[in-house]
């Protein structure tokens, strides 16, 4: 719950998102315990990426069920930044939890993840192969009123980068192949969850959950999502309260999914998280574009563009949140 400012005293700013960290922690811990009781599960499994969201989730899980009932997985693959594994281990050691490395690279290789992805890239860049790297970037919604078109960026072995528009089949093919990574990780998480009779904890923050920044049946699949209601800056505040190592709190959010380094703003969000938080909060609470603009150093027109982008992404990704849709309800099964 946000701490309400004194009436008429404070303008909208980052401080508006301040939460009572101790009270929020207690609320989440209590809810997690109740959810596990309801599912008759004995603990929590989660993938640990060395990012802020999974690190905070680990700390909350440990508070909820104790370190011995939390099992963490490091799941690097061929394109992963080794830093993710090092930081993940740091978190596991900090909270004294059992953790295992499951290298999903060979599995992805066997399923053709990399070859399929590179095959689609070669439809645009025939020379693409060993020594090359790639990523997908999105047109920034702040720059105008265009569409959120994604582009392929390739880097040749000499370091030269080229940005290319993709035909739909190439774009969808690259994304589909890459999504194998998140789905394979979830497969491993549920293996361990089934083995231990634990539940799987998903780690999206509010921005990611709201904007559909996840792979359906991949990182979007989970039994509990304890920080999905928290703005990213609130997750950072909780991190400090929960004793997450400073090194992790300072690390810029990354997707760690493509062979070229890629920030979340390049891939999906139009602004850094702290300003996205303010725009989303302002939209959710009916604030004026001028008020949000003052807090984010944007013009009112730019805020309107970010809001339009938020609305478009909500619409485009709504299906990610849906379960299988039935022709008629089966009333005996409650959702």
């Amino acid at each position: 719950m946000n701490i309400p400012p004194a009436p008429g005293m404070l303008a909208f700013s980052a401080a508006t998102l301040t939460i009572d960290n101790a009270a929020e922690t207690e609320r989440i811990v209590a809810e997690l315990r109740a959810q596990l009781r309801g599912m008759r599960k004995r603990g929590l499994v989660l993938g640990l990426s060395g990012g802020i969201d999974s690190s905070v989730s680990v700390a909350l899980a440990v508070r909820a069920v104790g370190a011995k009932n939390v099992f963490c997985l490091f799941m690097p693959e061929n394109d992963s930044d080794p830093e993710s594994l090092r930081l993940g281990r740091l978190v596991a050691d900090t909270f004294g939890i059992e953790a295992a490395v499951e290298d999903i690279g060979p599995t992805l290789q066997a399923m053709g993840c990399y070859e399929r992805r590179d095959g689609f890239i070669r439809e645009l860049v025939p020379a693409y192969g060993p020594g090359w790297a790639s990523k997908i970037v999105i047109a920034n919604s702040l720059s105008g009123d265009g569409y959120n078109i994604s582009y392929l960026v390739v880097q040749d072995p000499e370091g030269r980068q080229t940005k290319l528009r993709m035909p739909p089949a190439v774009y969808l093919g690259i994304v589909a192949a890459t999504n194998m990574k998140q789905r394979t990780r979830k497969q491993i998480e549920y293996y361990h969850a089934d083995r231990l009779n634990f539940a799987v904890l998903g780690t999206p923050n509010r921005l990611e959950y709201d904007q559909g920044f996840f792979v359906k049946n991949g990182d979007g699949a989970a039994d509990v999502k304890p920080i999905a209601h928290l703005y990213k800056s609130q997750v950072y505040a909780l991190a400090a309260h929960l004793g997450i190592p400073e090194e992790i709190c300072r690390r810029p959010p990354t997707t760690d999914t493509y062979t070229l380094e890629q920030t979340q703003e390049e891939f999906y969000f139009s602004l850094p998280y702290d300003r996205m938080d303010l725009c989303l909060y302002g939209l959710n609470h009916g604030l004026s574009a001028e008020e949000v603009g003052t807090a984010t150093q944007l013009t009112a027109v730019e805020v309107e563009r970010v809001w339009a982008d938020i609305a478009a992404k909500r619409k485009a990704t709504r299906y990610l949140h849906l379960g299988p849709q039935l022709v008629r309800p089966v009333d005996e099964i409650a959702h």
Binding site: G144, D145, G146, Y147, N148, I149, S150, R165, M166, P167, P168, Y171, L172, A312, K315, A316
Partner: protein, 94 residues
Amino acid sequence: MIIEKAGDTDTGAIRAFLAANFFLDDADDLEAGASLLEHGIMDSTGVLEVVGFIEHTFGITVEDSEILPSNLDSIQAIAQFVTRKKNGQSTSER
């Protein structure tokens, strides 16, 4: 009554493409000027599909700078865009 301001042949082909590609049951009722975004028909992937359709069907090349709602967000806008491209007129103004 739907008023088709651009070439009727192009408009018909565009309407048929939208009906088939986006599973529109009521494509004939869609106003030529209706926003495809606001009607929830188009998203960023759909735009790429429309661009591919335009390039393939009408034999024109769509530049990145031309992928704008003003050119692509309605049947009428697409038809007029195609007409301007065929005539070699400017199409990247907002």
